[in-house]
Amino acid sequence: MNDNKKYWLDDRRNIDRLYWGLVAVCVILGVADLVWFMLGAAELVHYRHVYFGWDGWINFYGFFGFAAFWCIVIAGKNLRRFLWRPEDYYD
């Protein structure tokens, strides 16, 4: 079935495009937060509820999301050294 059909994602260049597109979206989000922050500072809009202080930093959630994701994957990778057993371990 459809064995020879070429898909859009089969082309390596399209994966690159997706990757850089993602980087661009992140930059846009960061800039949007900066703009929203400045508009908030000028009291033109309500920036966002700041409960803890640090959650009001520009792009705090972006940096936090990136760092948390990174740490989770690295921690998981290291945990595997202790927790991994062969598939028939319980048999």
Partner: protein, 574 residues
């Protein structure tokens, strides 16, 4: 007339009729039952209750209020979708088990007293295990056995708790059980036992492994049913009995966090989903622990949305299992080419569970998060935020990426059967609909008049930042080759204690006992040991005095002797 029946009973009684029908008609009956049940529910108004007198206790077999109604609605809706998904199944056992299971879960959320709750509680355990056994493999049989022991064990704890609680207070009403101080340490032993019983079913840390052990072993369609009812029944029970119990807040955060790490390294994608389920329960448990109206609304609405997107995730992985024969990430990849509709449904479920704005998880989970912020619970908030990035990792990215994208495994299969597609598309539609237009869901939440608006610019922006930067982290990790490749194997979890350590300990004790016997025989005095063995055999062997069948008269005589002895002791004690 239909509204006079206890909710859930239509499903249970209907399930018993299923075997009377031809195999190809049975699935249609399983569609009709949740539909009828839902019609009945729509006729019920909050405030209705049916009582029944049993000895000295008043059983409230049915109690209808807003909390039970919303769980009733979603249970029926989930059962209907799962029944559509299982339309192709020609296995009487599965259809009967599934309908009894759903009926028991519905009955339990409408139970107004603890005894009725206990009966339904055990019925969910006994019926649902057949959805695991129906896989009909040795692994599924063993896993089902462990599941049954733990689930029935939870019921036994519940019963013990209810007995102690009832004898202490004289009440079996299932209302708020925890005191106003919210301290479990100040609660009575009966209440603590009930709490632990609920905890087992809610998959509290260290009590959680039945979930990851059994759900991946369920049948393709059975696991969809399993994912919806057992744990959410437990969440309902906690929300009813233990709102504002402080210990639940840190407990919930731990629940959101630890499965995240396991999910990263787990190879079986249905097991990843089981860990992810555990993590989602954490958010609900935190909401119950906070116990304010907004937090409880958050918990209940999150349970509602969660049942739909989690069932949808299990449906998509079920479709993969059905077509490919495995859900191991190491074997999959590139399936978007042959299962495009399943892929899109999986992506929608992934976006919903991750809490992307405009999808269902966003409008529900954020209520719990908002209350954590209002109360300035800094560490709790940070924990939940890390867990949110974790959800993005395991359910948002890992599931769709490794099944449908990643490297092309070369597997070419047919798209899922039409009935599976209908169920998945309907589930996906609901995930988006709730996200875009949450008002109808908010209207049926237990507490009314709570002002909550998820769609503020600041809020939407923060969630997009959190999640899209997390995706960026994934992209960078994969591109740089740091992301760990999938690997066949199992990962040790707490079930190691009862699957490895305990059996090893038992055989060690047995060996020790055998050794002692032999040493006694050889070292002390073989004659003495032999004589002891002979004596024991004479008394307890097939013809021994203690093995004999006693006549009623003899028993009556010895009973009288015993009672007389007791009387003498009593008089002497005075």
């Amino acid at each position: 007339m239909i509204e006079a029946l206890p909710p859930g009973l239509i499903l249970i009684l209907g399930a018993l009729l299923i075997p009377l029908f031809q195999k190809r008609l049975q699935p249609i009956l399983t569609l009709a039952l949740p539909f009828l049940g839902l019609v009945q529910l729509l006729m019920l108004e909050p405030g209705v209750s049916h009582q029944l007198r049993l000895f000295d206790y008043e059983l409230v077999v049915v109690r209808v209020d807003r909390l039970s109604l919303i769980f009733g609605y979603i249970f029926h809706l989930a059962a209907f979708l799962a029944a559509v998904y299982a339309l192709h199944v020609r296995d009487t056992v599965q259809h009967v088990a599934a309908m009894i299971y759903v009926g028991a879960a519905v009955g339990a959320v409408f139970a107004g007293d603890l005894v009725t709750l206990f009966i339904y509680w055990e019925l969910t355990a006994i019926s649902s295990v057949f959805l695991i056994w129906a896989t009909r493999t040795e692994a599924a049989y063993r896993s089902g056995m462990r599941y049954l022991v733990i689930q029935v064990g939870s019921g036994v704890l519940l019963l013990a708790g209810v007995i102690i609680h009832a004898s202490a207070t004289g009440s079996i009403v299932f209302g708020k059980l925890i005191g106003e101080d919210g301290l479990l340490s100040a609660a009575s032993p009966g209440v603590v036992l009930i709490f632990v019983a609920f905890g087992v079913k809610s998959a509290f840390p260290f009590l959680h492994n039945w979930l990851q052990d059994s759900y991946p072993n369920g049948t393709v369609t059975g696991t969809v049913f399993l994912s919806a009812f057992t744990t959410k029944l437990a969440i309902y029970a906690l929300a009813r009995g233990f709102p504002g119990t402080e210990i639940l807040i840190p407990m919930g955060v731990v629940m959101t966090l630890f499965p995240v790490f396991y999910a990263v390294i787990e190879n079986d994608l249905r097991k990843v989903l089981a860990y992810s389920l555990n993590n989602q329960l954490g958010y609900m448990v935190v909401g119950i622990g906070i116990g304010t109206e907004l937090a409880l609304n958050g918990t209940v609405s999150h349970a509602f949305a969660h049942i739909l997107y989690k069932a949808l995730l299990f449906m998509t992985m079920g479709a993969v299992l059905y077509r490919v024969g495995t859900t191991k990430a190491t074997e999959l990849g590139g399936l978007y080419k042959s299962m495009p509709v399943t892929t899109v449904c999986c992506l929608i479920a992934a976006a919903s569970i991750s809490g992307f704005p405009f999808f269902s998880g966003f409008v529900t989970k954020s209520m719990v998060m908002a209350e954590v912020e209002h109360l300035h619970l800094t560490w709790i908030f940070l924990g939940l935020l890390i867990a949110s990035a974790g959800v993005m990792e395991h359910s948002g990215i890992k599931i769709p990426y490794f099944a449908f994208f990643s490297h092309d495994s070369g597997i070419r299969v047919k798209e899922a059967p039409w009935n599976m597609l209908v169920a998945m598309v309907a589930g996906a539609f609901l995930c988006v609909a709730i996200g875009l237009y949450p008002a109808p869901l908010y209207e049926i939440l237990p507490f009314q008049g709570i002002d909550y608006e998820p769609y503020t610019t600041g809020h939407v922006l923060t969630y997009f930042q959190l999640l899209i930067f997390a995706i960026l982290a994934f992209a960078v990790l994969v591109r740089t080759g740091i992301y760990p490749p999938e690997k066949r194997g199992v990962n040790l979890d707490f079930d190691w204690t009862y699957r490895k350590a305990l059996p090893a300990m038992i055989s060690w004790v047995a060996r020790l006992g055998g050794g002692v016997g032999e040493r006694l025989h050889a070292g002390v005095s073989s004659q003495l040991v032999d004589r002891t063995y002979r004596l024991i055999y004479r008394l307890h062997g097939p013809t021994g005095v203690f093995a004999r069948t006693w006549s009623t008269g003899a028993i009556a005589f010895w009973a009288v002797v015993g009672l007389f002895g007791f009387l003498l002791l009593y008089l002497w004690g005075r």
